[in-house]
């Protein structure tokens, strides 16, 4: 009596597994198609002459030509791209320079302020960019009157606010994975000052988290449109919008480049982060943390 029941059970479980596999594949396929169709359409649009439908690579030739006097209408695109790339670097630098030491300090010296810090960092999530601009406009008007001037790159200050929630989450996850208090105290008793602790203890152990937060920052800055548009600054997205009005094929080609470029960046950084983590902790071991009450493998001596 037992055997048929078992067989029936196994067969039932097998069927359920197969059904789940089919469902998984279907969802994955539909998702992939839904995402790829617009991308393919974007690519197709960029290589066909709109009126005749014939293959036409002029948009790509304009992009490959880069910033030349021949294609004056594309000038905003290049200056927007330059501004956005500079802002990526600046925003990452300001974000890390502000957030990392603050988070480390709060963890080590003011744990009671942790909730407040989290609240402040997550606040931008609940403030629409339009509302943010209302508050930022007077600040940027004031900045324009200072030696900093009205250069687009100072949008980085606003972007730091925008990326705070994402960067905070990434860094917070990294900090939770190490016993920061013990490591910092060990370094201090051995003679390490705060800057040494930050550079030689915290940063190397948080490398994957720092890479993640930096990537999120780059992604947000490269894709930002609202704040730049409303503050009348020219970044990559606003330039794309402007170019789209006069030469939509170039805008489509550029959007395709950006999309694939960003994806490539994501994959590269992810691989880099994984490899860094593996180098530091081979065999996917747990990061060292408070080992109270455990003795992992016994003493080999």
């Amino acid at each position: 009596m037992t055997a048929p029941t078992l067989t029936g059970g196994t067969s039932h479980a097998g069927r359920a597994r197969r059904r789940q596999a089919v469902l998984r594949r279907t969802v994955l396929s539909v998702g992939t198609v839904a995402m790829l169709v617009p991308v393919v359409a974007l690519l197709e649009y960029s290589v066909r002459f709109p009126l005749t439908g014939a293959v036409d690579l002029s948009a790509w030739r304009k992009i490959v030509a880069g910033r030349t006097t021949e294609y004056q209408s594309l000038a905003p695109l290049w200056s927007g791209l330059t501004s956005s790339l500079v802002m990526c670097a600046l925003t990452v630098a300001i974000m890390l320079g502000l957030l990392l030491p603050t988070m480390v300090w709060v963890r080590l010296r003011a744990p009671r302020a942790a909730r407040t810090l989290e609240l402040v960092c997550l606040l931008p999530l609940s403030i629409p960019a339009v509302v943010l601009v209302v508050g930022l406009a007077p600040v940027y008007r004031f900045l324009a009157g200072t030696p900093l001037g009205s250069s687009t790159v100072w949008l980085s200050f606003a972007y730091v606010i925008l990326v705070l929630p994402f960067a905070f989450r990434a860094l917070d996850a990294g900090l939770r994975a190490i016993d920061l208090v013990t490591l910092a105290e060990a370094a201090r008793t051995l003679g390490g000052g705060w800057s040494r602790i930050l550079l030689r203890v915290v940063v190397p152990n948080l490398r994957p988290a720092i890479v993640s937060s930096s990537f999120v920052t780059v992604a947000v800055v490269l894709g930002e449109f609202t704040v730049a548009r409303l503050l009348a600054r020219e970044n990559l997205q606003t330039a794309l919008f402007q170019v789209n009005l006069s030469d939509s094929q170039v805008a489509a080609a550029m959007a395709f480049v950006l999309l694939t470029g960003t994806t490539a960046l994501l994959v590269t950084l992810e691989l880099l982060a994984t490899r860094t983590a593996r180098t530091a902790r081979p065999r996917g071991a747990e990061p060292s943390r408070s080992g109270v009450g455990r003795e992992p493998r016994g003493d080999h001596r």
């Binding site: 490591l183 105290e185 008793t189 408070s290 109270v292 455990r294 003795e295 992992p296 016994g298 003493d299």
Partner: protein, 386 residues
Amino acid sequence: MITQSAPTVPASDAGPRPETLDVATARRRTADGDASDVVLDGLWRRLGDVQALAGMSLTVPAGTLVALLGPSGCGKTTALRVLAGLEDLDAGAVRVAGRDVSHVPAHRRDNAMVFQAFSLMPHMTAGENVAFALELRGVPRRARAAIVDEHLELVGLGSHRDRYAHQLSGGQQQRVALARALAVRPSVLLLDEPLSALDAKVRVSLRDEIRRIQSQTGITTLFVTHDQEEALVVADQVAVMRAGAVVQVDTPQGLYQRPRDEFVATFIGATNRVRALASDGTALVEGWGPVPLLPGSAQGEVTLLVRPEHVRVGAADSRGARVADVSFLGTHAQVRVALPGRLDVVAQLRVDDAASLRPGDAVGLTFDTVPALAVERSAADGVDVR
């Protein structure tokens, strides 16, 4: 015997390595009243609602290992952290080698500490961890490798130099942490329950190694623990703490044999509570004759604190004592004897002596004439119904 290079002197310029210390030298220096003692003078520290330190004072003689022993929450770790500079002081002073370091930041105090939690840098190998400590103390790069090797050898992990923390067992990680602390040749070595996270066997082996290494190097060491056996085995002197203050400081033997008060007597080792009448330095235990008293004992109707190894079990007498149970503990046996109307008395006997005893056997009790502490009788000691 280990020698250690001074961290600030490049190896090539160092000439003969600085002095080799052994514990005998250290003791000689201490006996001469060397100013390099570590002095905690009237420390006060409040942590939230808890008065962690309440006028705690302690002198750690140079070159010795002093264990700070006490129950959880007695302030021993706070005292260590104050000495390390990791905790601020509300009042009092910390002096190392005659210099007041009370307000010197932790990284300028010339201490090194081994923590209860594993504290090796996870992104560095064992060797890099030790070298990192030397780097923090400004030891030139070319001098580091030799010191790293020397200290990893000292803790028996010379072949584990290139392993990361997660590739080492808990005991090995604490050994590397010890090597890292010793390598910087600190004025004071601070050990904050470094064995608590280890299993029993490793704990004993590392405990013995700490004792050996401290004797070899002669580094002034403060060892915090809540494990009385650990403290008694490792330390030259043991300071017992209670409620933020040191109750008694003595050698392990002195502490065990001459406890100053009831807390120390009951915290260190096991004790029996026996009602007695005390006067003129002697306690009369009804029917059992006089027992000499330790200084500081109470007078009048008292409770005598008697160690189980000072209780003898013999032929039955008129007191009606009977064996309640017998436990064999390998090296000795523990016999619990019930007395009518009194608290049970526990005797520690040789296994052979206890072999013939069975629960319910009528027996008689006697006490060795070893000085014992008499304390005020409390309600917990029961009413004498005789």
